[in-house]
Protein backbone atom coordinates (compact mmCIF):
# COMPACT_ATOMS: atom_id res chain seq x y z
CA UNK A 1 0.00 0.00 0.00
CA UNK A 2 2.81 2.36 0.92
CA UNK A 3 4.47 1.63 -2.40
CA UNK A 4 1.35 2.62 -4.30
CA UNK A 5 0.90 5.75 -2.15
CA UNK A 6 4.50 6.74 -2.74
CA UNK A 7 4.11 6.13 -6.44
CA UNK A 8 1.02 8.38 -6.54
CA UNK A 9 2.76 11.17 -4.62
CA UNK A 10 5.71 10.92 -7.00
CA UNK A 11 3.47 10.88 -10.05
CA UNK A 12 1.67 14.13 -9.30
CA UNK A 13 4.86 16.03 -8.43
CA UNK A 14 6.56 14.35 -11.37
CA UNK A 15 3.88 15.73 -13.68
CA UNK A 16 4.72 19.25 -12.52
CA UNK A 17 8.46 18.69 -12.86
CA UNK A 18 7.76 17.34 -16.34
CA UNK A 19 5.90 20.52 -17.31
CA UNK A 20 8.76 22.69 -16.08
CA UNK A 21 11.27 20.42 -17.81
CA UNK A 22 9.19 20.64 -20.98
CA UNK A 23 9.35 24.43 -20.81
CA UNK A 24 13.12 24.37 -20.37
CA UNK A 25 13.58 21.88 -23.20
CA UNK A 26 11.41 23.91 -25.59
CA UNK A 27 13.57 26.96 -24.94
CA UNK A 28 16.76 24.96 -25.16
CA UNK A 29 15.72 23.49 -28.50
CA UNK A 30 14.72 26.81 -29.97
CA UNK A 31 17.55 29.05 -28.77
CA UNK A 32 20.17 26.88 -27.04
CA UNK A 33 19.60 28.77 -23.82
CA UNK A 34 19.03 27.26 -20.39
CA UNK A 35 16.28 29.56 -19.22
CA UNK A 36 16.66 30.26 -15.50
CA UNK A 37 13.98 32.92 -15.80
CA UNK A 38 11.46 30.11 -16.31
CA UNK A 39 10.58 29.98 -12.60
CA UNK A 40 10.06 33.75 -12.65
CA UNK A 41 7.93 33.60 -15.77
CA UNK A 42 5.79 30.87 -14.23
CA UNK A 43 5.40 32.97 -11.07
CA UNK A 44 4.41 36.06 -13.02
CA UNK A 45 1.85 34.19 -15.09
CA UNK A 46 0.45 32.55 -11.96
CA UNK A 47 0.07 36.01 -10.40
CA UNK A 48 -1.78 37.08 -13.56
CA UNK A 49 -4.08 34.11 -13.04
CA UNK A 50 -4.46 35.15 -9.40
CA UNK A 51 -5.53 38.65 -10.45
CA UNK A 52 -8.08 37.26 -12.90
CA UNK A 53 -9.38 34.90 -10.23
CA UNK A 54 -9.80 37.80 -7.80
CA UNK A 55 -11.95 39.58 -10.37
CA UNK A 56 -13.91 36.68 -11.82
CA UNK A 57 -13.93 34.45 -8.73
CA UNK A 58 -13.24 31.52 -10.97
CA UNK A 59 -10.13 29.40 -10.93
CA UNK A 60 -11.08 27.82 -14.24
CA UNK A 61 -11.43 31.14 -16.07
CA UNK A 62 -8.13 32.31 -14.65
CA UNK A 63 -6.12 29.40 -16.08
CA UNK A 64 -6.38 30.34 -19.79
CA UNK A 65 -5.41 33.91 -18.85
CA UNK A 66 -2.35 32.62 -17.02
CA UNK A 67 -1.41 30.47 -20.02
CA UNK A 68 -1.82 33.25 -22.57
CA UNK A 69 0.01 35.61 -20.22
CA UNK A 70 2.83 33.13 -19.79
CA UNK A 71 3.17 32.71 -23.55
CA UNK A 72 3.16 36.47 -24.10
CA UNK A 73 5.79 37.10 -21.42
CA UNK A 74 8.05 34.44 -22.89
CA UNK A 75 7.63 35.75 -26.43
CA UNK A 76 8.40 39.25 -25.23
CA UNK A 77 11.55 38.11 -23.43
CA UNK A 78 12.83 36.27 -26.47
CA UNK A 79 12.00 39.00 -28.96
CA UNK A 80 13.39 41.86 -26.89
CA UNK A 81 16.22 40.48 -24.81
CA UNK A 82 17.42 37.16 -26.15
CA UNK A 83 17.42 38.35 -29.74
CA UNK A 84 19.56 41.39 -29.01
CA UNK A 85 21.82 39.12 -26.99
CA UNK A 86 22.14 36.71 -29.91
CA UNK A 87 22.91 39.56 -32.31
CA UNK A 88 25.84 40.60 -30.18
CA UNK A 89 26.88 37.16 -29.12
CA UNK A 90 30.52 36.31 -29.34
CA UNK A 91 32.33 33.11 -29.79
CA UNK A 92 33.88 31.21 -26.95
CA UNK A 93 33.05 30.77 -23.30
CA UNK A 94 31.14 34.02 -23.07
CA UNK A 95 28.55 32.94 -25.61
CA UNK A 96 27.71 29.97 -23.41
CA UNK A 97 27.58 31.81 -20.15
CA UNK A 98 26.10 35.15 -21.20
CA UNK A 99 22.58 33.84 -21.84
CA UNK A 100 22.69 32.06 -18.46
CA UNK A 101 23.48 35.38 -16.79
CA UNK A 102 20.84 37.19 -18.83
CA UNK A 103 18.15 34.76 -17.74
CA UNK A 104 19.37 34.92 -14.12
CA UNK A 105 19.05 38.70 -14.38
CA UNK A 106 15.55 38.25 -15.73
CA UNK A 107 14.67 35.94 -12.86
CA UNK A 108 15.77 38.64 -10.42
CA UNK A 109 13.92 41.30 -12.37
CA UNK A 110 10.66 39.37 -12.40
CA UNK A 111 10.93 38.50 -8.71
CA UNK A 112 11.50 42.15 -7.82
CA UNK A 113 8.61 43.21 -10.03
CA UNK A 114 6.19 40.72 -8.52
CA UNK A 115 7.39 41.79 -5.07
CA UNK A 116 6.72 45.41 -5.97
CA UNK A 117 3.25 44.73 -7.32
CA UNK A 118 1.94 42.02 -5.02
CA UNK A 119 4.32 42.35 -2.07
CA UNK A 120 6.64 39.75 -0.56
CA UNK A 121 3.76 37.97 1.04
CA UNK A 122 1.87 34.71 0.70
CA UNK A 123 -1.36 34.96 -1.23
CA UNK A 124 -4.08 32.44 -1.99
CA UNK A 125 -4.63 31.06 -5.42
CA UNK A 126 -7.29 28.51 -4.70
CA UNK A 127 -8.80 25.77 -6.75
CA UNK A 128 -12.45 24.86 -6.14
CA UNK A 129 -11.47 21.20 -6.21
CA UNK A 130 -11.20 19.37 -2.96
CA UNK A 131 -7.74 18.92 -1.57
CA UNK A 132 -8.92 15.69 0.04
CA UNK A 133 -7.54 12.43 -1.27
CA UNK A 134 -9.76 9.82 -2.94
CA UNK A 135 -10.97 6.94 -0.84
CA UNK A 136 -10.30 3.41 -1.92
CA UNK A 137 -12.24 1.28 0.46
CA UNK A 138 -11.27 2.53 3.87
CA UNK A 139 -7.92 3.85 2.77
CA UNK A 140 -7.51 7.50 1.77
CA UNK A 141 -4.91 7.67 -0.95
CA UNK A 142 -2.64 10.74 -1.07
CA UNK A 143 -4.10 11.73 -4.40
CA UNK A 144 -6.73 14.44 -4.55
CA UNK A 145 -8.91 15.76 -7.40
CA UNK A 146 -6.41 18.62 -7.72
CA UNK A 147 -3.62 16.07 -8.22
CA UNK A 148 -5.75 14.41 -10.87
CA UNK A 149 -6.13 17.75 -12.65
CA UNK A 150 -2.37 18.25 -12.43
CA UNK A 151 -1.71 14.92 -14.10
CA UNK A 152 -4.47 15.41 -16.69
CA UNK A 153 -3.30 18.97 -17.39
CA UNK A 154 0.28 17.83 -17.83
CA UNK A 155 -0.76 14.98 -20.14
CA UNK A 156 -2.93 17.38 -22.14
CA UNK A 157 -0.08 19.87 -22.61
CA UNK A 158 2.28 17.10 -23.62
CA UNK A 159 -0.27 15.66 -26.02
CA UNK A 160 -0.83 19.03 -27.66
CA UNK A 161 2.89 19.62 -28.07
CA UNK A 162 3.45 16.12 -29.43
CA UNK A 163 0.71 16.67 -31.97
CA UNK A 164 2.07 20.04 -33.05
CA UNK A 165 5.62 18.77 -33.40
CA UNK A 166 4.70 15.56 -35.17
CA UNK A 167 1.85 16.52 -37.44
CA UNK A 168 1.92 20.21 -38.30
CA UNK A 169 4.01 22.41 -40.57
CA UNK A 170 4.70 24.63 -37.58
CA UNK A 171 6.11 21.64 -35.76
CA UNK A 172 8.31 20.77 -38.69
CA UNK A 173 9.56 24.35 -38.85
CA UNK A 174 10.24 24.34 -35.12
CA UNK A 175 12.26 21.19 -35.38
CA UNK A 176 14.13 22.37 -38.44
CA UNK A 177 14.92 25.78 -36.96
CA UNK A 178 16.28 24.18 -33.84
CA UNK A 179 18.54 21.60 -35.46
CA UNK A 180 19.60 23.27 -38.70
CA UNK A 181 19.03 27.01 -38.36
CA UNK A 182 21.14 27.97 -41.37
CA UNK A 183 19.55 25.48 -43.75
CA UNK A 184 16.12 26.40 -42.41
CA UNK A 185 16.79 30.03 -43.13
CA UNK A 186 17.80 29.16 -46.68
CA UNK A 187 14.68 27.08 -47.01
CA UNK A 188 12.62 30.17 -46.30
CA UNK A 189 11.75 29.54 -42.65
CA UNK A 190 11.69 32.73 -40.63
CA UNK A 191 13.91 31.32 -37.95
CA UNK A 192 13.65 34.24 -35.53
CA UNK A 193 9.90 34.13 -35.49
CA UNK A 194 9.85 30.37 -35.17
CA UNK A 195 12.18 30.58 -32.18
CA UNK A 196 9.95 33.09 -30.47
CA UNK A 197 7.04 30.71 -30.97
CA UNK A 198 9.14 28.04 -29.27
CA UNK A 199 9.61 30.40 -26.33
CA UNK A 200 5.88 31.15 -26.21
CA UNK A 201 5.08 27.43 -26.04
CA UNK A 202 7.57 27.10 -23.21
CA UNK A 203 6.02 30.05 -21.37
CA UNK A 204 2.61 28.45 -21.71
CA UNK A 205 3.85 25.13 -20.33
CA UNK A 206 5.44 26.91 -17.36
CA UNK A 207 2.21 28.82 -16.73
CA UNK A 208 0.23 25.57 -16.66
CA UNK A 209 2.70 24.17 -14.14
CA UNK A 210 2.41 27.26 -11.93
CA UNK A 211 -1.36 27.53 -12.12
CA UNK A 212 -1.91 23.85 -11.38
CA UNK A 213 0.59 23.34 -8.59
CA UNK A 214 0.06 26.60 -6.68
CA UNK A 215 -3.34 25.64 -5.19
CA UNK A 216 -1.61 22.69 -3.50
CA UNK A 217 1.01 24.98 -1.95
CA UNK A 218 1.03 28.79 -1.89
CA UNK A 219 1.94 31.77 -4.00
CA UNK A 220 4.77 34.23 -3.30
CA UNK A 221 7.49 35.77 -5.48
CA UNK A 222 9.76 32.86 -4.55
CA UNK A 223 7.29 30.00 -4.27
CA UNK A 224 8.38 28.21 -7.46
CA UNK A 225 12.14 28.41 -6.82
CA UNK A 226 12.40 24.74 -5.94
CA UNK A 227 10.50 23.85 -9.06
CA UNK A 228 13.12 25.54 -11.21
CA UNK A 229 15.83 23.27 -9.85
CA UNK A 230 13.67 20.15 -10.11
CA UNK A 231 12.57 21.13 -13.61
CA UNK A 232 16.11 21.70 -14.75
CA UNK A 233 17.35 18.49 -13.23
CA UNK A 234 14.45 16.64 -14.88
CA UNK A 235 15.29 18.24 -18.23
CA UNK A 236 18.94 17.25 -17.91
CA UNK A 237 17.98 13.72 -16.94
CA UNK A 238 15.76 13.55 -20.00
CA UNK A 239 18.48 14.79 -22.28
CA UNK A 240 17.58 18.47 -22.82
CA UNK A 241 16.78 17.98 -26.50
CA UNK A 242 13.95 15.60 -26.21
CA UNK A 243 10.37 16.50 -25.29
CA UNK A 244 9.60 12.90 -24.41
CA UNK A 245 12.84 12.84 -22.46
CA UNK A 246 11.67 15.86 -20.43
CA UNK A 247 8.44 14.10 -19.55
CA UNK A 248 10.21 10.89 -18.63
CA UNK A 249 12.84 12.85 -16.71
CA UNK A 250 10.15 14.69 -14.75
CA UNK A 251 8.28 11.53 -13.86
CA UNK A 252 11.47 9.68 -13.01
CA UNK A 253 12.60 12.50 -10.76
CA UNK A 254 9.21 12.81 -9.09
CA UNK A 255 8.91 9.10 -8.39
CA UNK A 256 12.59 8.75 -7.49
CA UNK A 257 12.23 11.67 -5.13
CA UNK A 258 9.17 10.20 -3.46
CA UNK A 259 10.87 6.84 -2.93
CA UNK A 260 14.07 8.38 -1.61
CA UNK A 261 12.03 10.44 0.86
CA UNK A 262 10.00 7.41 1.84
CA UNK A 263 12.85 4.99 2.30
CA UNK A 264 15.93 7.08 3.07
CA UNK A 265 14.47 10.06 4.88
CA UNK A 266 13.17 13.57 4.36
CA UNK A 267 16.46 15.14 5.40
CA UNK A 268 18.10 14.38 2.09
CA UNK A 269 15.48 16.31 0.08
CA UNK A 270 17.90 18.77 -1.42
CA UNK A 271 20.63 16.24 -2.05
CA UNK A 272 18.20 13.78 -3.60
CA UNK A 273 18.00 15.64 -6.90
CA UNK A 274 21.79 15.66 -7.06
CA UNK A 275 22.01 11.96 -6.33
CA UNK A 276 19.43 11.04 -8.97
CA UNK A 277 21.11 13.31 -11.51
CA UNK A 278 24.57 11.90 -10.90
CA UNK A 279 23.31 8.33 -11.17
CA UNK A 280 21.56 9.04 -14.48
CA UNK A 281 24.42 11.01 -15.97
CA UNK A 282 26.94 8.42 -14.90
CA UNK A 283 25.13 5.83 -16.94
CA UNK A 284 24.17 8.17 -19.77
CA UNK A 285 26.21 11.40 -19.85
CA UNK A 286 23.76 12.93 -22.30
CA UNK A 287 20.61 12.06 -20.43
CA UNK A 288 18.09 9.35 -21.21
CA UNK A 289 17.09 10.56 -24.65
CA UNK A 290 19.61 13.26 -25.43
CA UNK A 291 21.03 13.37 -28.92
CA UNK A 292 24.53 14.15 -30.05
CA UNK A 293 23.19 17.22 -31.84
CA UNK A 294 22.77 18.83 -28.46
CA UNK A 295 26.47 18.86 -28.01
CA UNK A 296 27.70 22.21 -29.06
CA UNK A 297 30.72 23.09 -27.04
CA UNK A 298 33.06 20.36 -28.19
Amino acid sequence: MIIIDTLLIGLSSGAIYALMALALVLVWRSTRVVNFAQAGQAILSTYLGYEVMNRTHSYWISIPFAIVGGAAIAAFIDAVILRSLAKRSHKGSVSEIAPVIATLGLLGLIRSLTGMIWGNAYVQYISPLSGKGYMIGKHTIPFSPQNLIIVIGALLVMGIFATIFKFTNLGLALRAASFQPEISRLAGIRVDRIRTIGWAFAGAAGAVAGALVTPTTYLSPNSLDLLLVSGFVAAVIGGLDSLIGAVLGGLLLGVGFAFILQYIGASVTFSAAFIILIVVLFVRPRGILGSKVGRRDA
Binding site: L85, V100, V236, F274, R295
Partner: protein
Amino acid sequence: MRKSKALSALTFLAIGLFLLGLSNFVDELRVYQGAQIAVYVIAISSIILLTGYSGQISLGHGALMAIGGYAAVLSYTYWHLPVLLAFTVGALAAALGGFILGMAAARLSGPYLAGTTLALAVGLPSLANQFHILGGEGGLSFDIGEAPKWIANKTGGDFTQYKWFFWVSTVCALVTIWFIKNLLQSRFGRTWRAVRGNPSAAALSGINIGRSKVLAFTVSSALAGLAGALLAMLLGLVAPMAFTLTLSFTLVTGAVLAGVTNLAGSIVGAVVLVVIPEITDVVATHLGGSEKITANLPGLITSVLLILTVIFAPNGPKLHIRKKVHN
Protein backbone atom coordinates in the same frame (compact mmCIF):
# COMPACT_ATOMS: atom_id res chain seq x y z
CA MET B 1 61.70 35.58 -18.90
CA ARG B 2 63.18 35.37 -15.44
CA LYS B 3 63.75 39.09 -15.39
CA SER B 4 60.12 39.79 -16.23
CA LYS B 5 59.04 37.44 -13.47
CA ALA B 6 61.14 39.33 -10.99
CA LEU B 7 59.67 42.58 -12.24
CA SER B 8 56.15 41.33 -12.00
CA ALA B 9 56.84 39.96 -8.51
CA LEU B 10 58.05 43.40 -7.53
CA THR B 11 54.91 44.93 -9.01
CA PHE B 12 52.79 42.64 -6.91
CA LEU B 13 54.79 43.39 -3.80
CA ALA B 14 54.39 47.12 -4.45
CA ILE B 15 50.65 46.80 -4.96
CA GLY B 16 50.43 44.75 -1.79
CA LEU B 17 52.34 47.25 0.31
CA PHE B 18 50.36 50.09 -1.17
CA LEU B 19 47.03 48.43 -0.35
CA LEU B 20 48.10 47.49 3.16
CA GLY B 21 49.35 51.00 3.74
CA LEU B 22 46.12 52.39 2.44
CA SER B 23 44.20 50.46 5.07
CA ASN B 24 45.52 52.95 7.63
CA PHE B 25 43.77 55.82 5.94
CA VAL B 26 40.29 54.52 5.25
CA ASP B 27 37.52 53.94 7.74
CA GLU B 28 36.46 50.58 9.07
CA LEU B 29 33.46 50.19 6.78
CA ARG B 30 35.62 50.55 3.68
CA VAL B 31 38.29 48.30 5.12
CA TYR B 32 35.70 45.55 5.51
CA GLN B 33 34.47 46.13 1.99
CA GLY B 34 38.05 45.98 0.78
CA ALA B 35 38.41 42.59 2.45
CA GLN B 36 35.16 41.48 0.84
CA ILE B 37 36.47 42.60 -2.55
CA ALA B 38 39.65 40.59 -2.05
CA VAL B 39 37.65 37.45 -1.23
CA TYR B 40 35.44 37.93 -4.29
CA VAL B 41 38.55 38.47 -6.43
CA ILE B 42 39.73 34.99 -5.48
CA ALA B 43 36.32 33.41 -6.01
CA ILE B 44 35.79 35.12 -9.36
CA SER B 45 39.30 34.21 -10.53
CA SER B 46 38.51 30.60 -9.80
CA ILE B 47 35.51 30.83 -12.15
CA ILE B 48 37.52 32.70 -14.77
CA LEU B 49 40.17 30.00 -14.68
CA LEU B 50 37.53 27.32 -15.15
CA THR B 51 35.22 28.96 -17.64
CA GLY B 52 37.44 31.42 -19.44
CA TYR B 53 40.50 29.26 -19.79
CA SER B 54 39.27 25.70 -19.65
CA GLY B 55 35.81 26.21 -21.15
CA GLN B 56 33.81 24.51 -18.39
CA ILE B 57 30.78 26.00 -16.66
CA SER B 58 30.07 25.74 -12.96
CA LEU B 59 26.97 26.97 -11.19
CA GLY B 60 28.10 25.22 -8.04
CA HIS B 61 31.14 27.10 -6.87
CA GLY B 62 29.20 28.23 -3.82
CA ALA B 63 29.17 24.58 -2.74
CA LEU B 64 32.93 24.29 -3.24
CA MET B 65 33.36 27.44 -1.17
CA ALA B 66 31.29 25.75 1.52
CA ILE B 67 33.63 22.75 1.49
CA GLY B 68 36.60 25.09 1.88
CA GLY B 69 34.93 27.09 4.61
CA TYR B 70 33.85 24.08 6.66
CA ALA B 71 37.20 22.31 6.27
CA ALA B 72 39.10 25.42 7.36
CA VAL B 73 36.89 26.02 10.39
CA LEU B 74 36.92 22.37 11.45
CA SER B 75 40.70 22.09 11.20
CA TYR B 76 41.10 25.38 13.04
CA THR B 77 38.70 24.41 15.80
CA TYR B 78 39.52 20.73 16.30
CA TRP B 79 43.13 20.41 15.16
CA HIS B 80 44.06 23.88 16.40
CA LEU B 81 45.94 24.57 13.19
CA PRO B 82 47.39 28.03 12.60
CA VAL B 83 45.02 30.14 10.53
CA LEU B 84 47.00 30.06 7.30
CA LEU B 85 47.36 26.30 7.54
CA ALA B 86 43.61 26.01 8.16
CA PHE B 87 43.01 28.03 4.99
CA THR B 88 45.30 25.63 3.14
CA VAL B 89 43.32 22.68 4.46
CA GLY B 90 40.18 24.42 3.21
CA ALA B 91 41.67 24.84 -0.24
CA LEU B 92 42.87 21.23 -0.33
CA ALA B 93 39.51 19.85 0.81
CA ALA B 94 37.74 21.83 -1.89
CA ALA B 95 40.33 20.66 -4.40
CA LEU B 96 39.53 17.07 -3.49
CA GLY B 97 35.81 17.77 -3.91
CA GLY B 98 36.54 19.53 -7.17
CA PHE B 99 38.67 16.61 -8.38
CA ILE B 100 35.79 14.19 -7.86
CA LEU B 101 33.31 16.59 -9.43
CA GLY B 102 35.78 17.27 -12.24
CA MET B 103 35.95 13.55 -13.05
CA ALA B 104 32.20 13.63 -13.61
CA ALA B 105 32.41 17.02 -15.29
CA ALA B 106 34.94 15.90 -17.89
CA ARG B 107 32.31 13.56 -19.27
CA LEU B 108 29.65 16.26 -19.48
CA SER B 109 29.15 19.09 -21.90
CA GLY B 110 27.93 22.64 -21.15
CA PRO B 111 24.33 22.46 -19.99
CA TYR B 112 24.70 19.01 -18.43
CA LEU B 113 27.58 20.27 -16.37
CA ALA B 114 25.60 23.38 -15.48
CA GLY B 115 22.75 21.15 -14.29
CA THR B 116 24.99 18.91 -12.23
CA THR B 117 26.78 21.78 -10.53
CA LEU B 118 23.47 23.55 -9.94
CA ALA B 119 22.09 20.48 -8.19
CA LEU B 120 25.27 20.34 -6.13
CA ALA B 121 24.92 23.97 -5.10
CA VAL B 122 21.40 23.26 -3.87
CA GLY B 123 22.15 19.89 -2.32
CA LEU B 124 25.47 20.18 -0.60
CA PRO B 125 25.18 23.06 1.90
CA SER B 126 21.97 21.66 3.39
CA LEU B 127 23.88 18.47 4.21
CA ALA B 128 25.52 20.43 7.02
CA ASN B 129 22.30 19.96 8.94
CA GLN B 130 22.78 16.20 8.87
CA PHE B 131 25.98 16.15 10.84
CA HIS B 132 26.17 17.43 14.35
CA ILE B 133 29.85 18.30 14.00
CA LEU B 134 28.97 20.80 11.27
CA GLY B 135 26.83 22.88 13.60
CA GLY B 136 23.53 22.76 11.72
CA GLU B 137 21.71 25.84 10.52
CA GLY B 138 23.43 28.15 13.02
CA GLY B 139 26.79 26.97 11.76
CA LEU B 140 30.17 26.93 13.47
CA SER B 141 31.77 30.10 14.70
CA PHE B 142 35.22 31.00 13.49
CA ASP B 143 37.22 33.74 15.16
CA ILE B 144 40.77 34.08 13.88
CA GLY B 145 41.48 36.65 16.56
CA GLU B 146 43.29 39.92 16.27
CA ALA B 147 46.41 40.77 14.28
CA PRO B 148 49.66 39.50 15.82
CA LYS B 149 51.35 42.09 18.02
CA TRP B 150 54.44 42.45 15.82
CA ILE B 151 52.23 43.62 12.96
CA ALA B 152 49.77 45.68 14.96
CA ASN B 153 52.50 47.51 16.88
CA LYS B 154 54.48 48.42 13.78
CA THR B 155 51.59 50.09 12.01
CA GLY B 156 50.58 52.03 15.09
CA GLY B 157 47.11 53.27 15.85
CA ASP B 158 44.06 51.13 16.30
CA PHE B 159 44.49 47.85 14.46
CA THR B 160 40.90 46.63 14.20
CA GLN B 161 39.92 43.08 13.37
CA TYR B 162 38.41 44.23 10.08
CA LYS B 163 41.78 45.67 9.15
CA TRP B 164 43.40 42.36 9.94
CA PHE B 165 40.79 40.62 7.75
CA PHE B 166 41.69 43.07 5.00
CA TRP B 167 45.39 42.32 5.33
CA VAL B 168 44.93 38.55 5.29
CA SER B 169 42.52 38.50 2.38
CA THR B 170 44.46 41.03 0.32
CA VAL B 171 47.65 39.04 0.66
CA CYS B 172 45.77 35.85 -0.24
CA ALA B 173 44.20 37.55 -3.26
CA LEU B 174 47.51 38.85 -4.55
CA VAL B 175 49.17 35.48 -4.10
CA THR B 176 46.24 33.85 -5.90
CA ILE B 177 46.44 36.16 -8.90
CA TRP B 178 50.18 35.73 -9.01
CA PHE B 179 49.73 31.97 -8.92
CA ILE B 180 47.09 31.90 -11.65
CA LYS B 181 49.10 34.19 -13.88
CA ASN B 182 52.10 31.91 -13.68
CA LEU B 183 49.98 28.81 -14.06
CA LEU B 184 48.42 30.17 -17.22
CA GLN B 185 51.84 30.77 -18.70
CA SER B 186 52.99 27.29 -17.83
CA ARG B 187 52.49 24.12 -19.81
CA PHE B 188 49.11 23.62 -18.11
CA GLY B 189 47.84 27.01 -19.14
CA ARG B 190 48.83 26.44 -22.74
CA THR B 191 47.16 23.05 -22.68
CA TRP B 192 43.91 24.53 -21.35
CA ARG B 193 43.87 27.20 -24.01
CA ALA B 194 44.57 24.64 -26.69
CA VAL B 195 41.71 22.44 -25.46
CA ARG B 196 39.34 25.36 -25.22
CA GLY B 197 40.33 26.70 -28.65
CA ASN B 198 40.19 23.49 -30.63
CA PRO B 199 39.70 20.25 -28.73
CA SER B 200 40.11 18.01 -31.76
CA ALA B 201 43.45 19.56 -32.71
CA ALA B 202 44.55 19.42 -29.08
CA ALA B 203 43.70 15.74 -28.88
CA LEU B 204 45.58 15.06 -32.12
CA SER B 205 48.66 16.76 -30.76
CA GLY B 206 48.66 14.35 -27.87
CA ILE B 207 46.93 16.32 -25.14
CA ASN B 208 44.79 14.28 -22.79
CA ILE B 209 41.64 16.41 -22.85
CA GLY B 210 39.94 14.68 -19.96
CA ARG B 211 42.94 15.00 -17.69
CA SER B 212 43.40 18.63 -18.64
CA LYS B 213 39.78 19.43 -17.77
CA VAL B 214 39.92 17.58 -14.45
CA LEU B 215 43.06 19.46 -13.52
CA ALA B 216 41.44 22.81 -14.30
CA PHE B 217 38.43 21.86 -12.22
CA THR B 218 40.65 20.81 -9.32
CA VAL B 219 42.71 24.00 -9.31
CA SER B 220 39.63 26.16 -9.68
CA SER B 221 38.00 24.33 -6.76
CA ALA B 222 41.06 24.83 -4.57
CA LEU B 223 40.80 28.57 -5.15
CA ALA B 224 37.07 28.50 -4.46
CA GLY B 225 37.86 26.64 -1.25
CA LEU B 226 40.33 29.32 -0.22
CA ALA B 227 37.71 31.97 -0.95
CA GLY B 228 35.23 30.01 1.15
CA ALA B 229 37.66 29.84 4.06
CA LEU B 230 38.27 33.59 3.82
CA LEU B 231 34.54 34.25 3.63
CA ALA B 232 34.15 32.22 6.81
CA MET B 233 36.79 34.43 8.39
CA LEU B 234 34.91 37.61 7.39
CA LEU B 235 31.59 36.28 8.65
CA GLY B 236 33.05 34.78 11.78
CA LEU B 237 31.20 31.57 11.00
CA VAL B 238 30.32 28.93 8.47
CA ALA B 239 26.62 28.21 8.02
CA PRO B 240 24.62 26.63 5.21
CA MET B 241 22.75 29.89 4.61
CA ALA B 242 26.02 31.62 3.69
CA PHE B 243 26.60 29.31 0.73
CA THR B 244 23.28 29.40 -1.05
CA LEU B 245 22.55 29.11 -4.74
CA THR B 246 22.47 32.90 -4.77
CA LEU B 247 26.17 32.96 -3.90
CA SER B 248 27.00 30.62 -6.79
CA PHE B 249 24.98 32.79 -9.14
CA THR B 250 26.62 35.94 -7.77
CA LEU B 251 30.06 34.55 -8.54
CA VAL B 252 29.16 33.67 -12.13
CA THR B 253 27.71 37.16 -12.45
CA GLY B 254 30.94 38.63 -11.15
CA ALA B 255 32.90 36.56 -13.67
CA VAL B 256 30.77 37.86 -16.53
CA LEU B 257 31.09 41.43 -15.31
CA ALA B 258 34.84 40.80 -15.23
CA GLY B 259 34.88 39.33 -18.72
CA VAL B 260 35.29 35.60 -18.36
CA THR B 261 38.64 35.44 -20.10
CA ASN B 262 40.11 38.40 -18.30
CA LEU B 263 41.90 37.65 -15.05
CA ALA B 264 42.54 41.29 -14.21
CA GLY B 265 38.83 41.93 -14.67
CA SER B 266 38.12 39.85 -11.57
CA ILE B 267 38.90 42.97 -9.56
CA VAL B 268 36.36 44.98 -11.49
CA GLY B 269 33.81 42.21 -11.03
CA ALA B 270 34.50 42.02 -7.30
CA VAL B 271 34.25 45.78 -6.80
CA VAL B 272 30.95 45.88 -8.65
CA LEU B 273 29.53 43.03 -6.54
CA VAL B 274 30.37 44.89 -3.33
CA VAL B 275 29.48 48.40 -4.44
CA ILE B 276 26.20 47.72 -6.28
CA PRO B 277 24.13 46.79 -3.20
CA GLU B 278 25.27 49.95 -1.48
CA ILE B 279 24.42 52.18 -4.44
CA THR B 280 21.04 50.57 -5.04
CA ASP B 281 20.24 50.89 -1.34
CA VAL B 282 21.00 54.61 -1.44
CA VAL B 283 18.96 55.06 -4.63
CA ALA B 284 16.03 53.14 -3.17
CA THR B 285 16.13 55.17 0.04
CA HIS B 286 16.18 58.45 -1.88
CA LEU B 287 13.39 57.51 -4.26
CA GLY B 288 11.25 56.33 -1.40
CA GLY B 289 7.76 54.98 -2.00
CA SER B 290 5.79 52.22 -0.35
CA GLU B 291 7.43 49.35 1.54
CA LYS B 292 6.88 47.03 -1.39
CA ILE B 293 8.73 49.39 -3.72
CA THR B 294 11.70 50.24 -1.49
CA ALA B 295 12.25 46.62 -0.50
CA ASN B 296 12.37 45.40 -4.08
CA LEU B 297 13.98 48.35 -5.82
CA PRO B 298 17.61 47.34 -5.14
CA GLY B 299 16.98 43.89 -6.63
CA LEU B 300 15.26 45.47 -9.61
CA ILE B 301 18.11 47.88 -10.33
CA THR B 302 20.74 45.16 -9.97
CA SER B 303 18.87 42.84 -12.32
CA VAL B 304 18.38 45.51 -14.96
CA LEU B 305 22.06 46.46 -14.80
CA LEU B 306 23.00 42.82 -15.13
CA ILE B 307 20.84 42.29 -18.20
CA LEU B 308 22.12 45.46 -19.84
CA THR B 309 25.74 44.50 -19.13
CA VAL B 310 25.31 41.07 -20.63
CA ILE B 311 23.68 42.48 -23.75
CA PHE B 312 25.98 45.43 -24.32
CA ALA B 313 29.29 44.33 -22.81
CA PRO B 314 29.16 40.54 -22.55
CA ASN B 315 32.94 40.26 -22.62
CA GLY B 316 33.54 42.52 -19.70
CA PRO B 317 35.30 45.85 -19.78
CA LYS B 318 38.61 45.02 -21.37
CA LEU B 319 38.46 42.07 -23.63
CA HIS B 320 38.64 43.93 -26.92
CA ILE B 321 42.08 45.25 -26.03
CA ARG B 322 43.38 41.94 -24.79
CA LYS B 323 41.98 39.97 -27.67
CA LYS B 324 44.36 41.67 -30.05
CA VAL B 325 47.30 40.71 -27.88
CA HIS B 326 46.22 37.09 -27.85
CA ASN B 327 45.83 36.87 -31.58
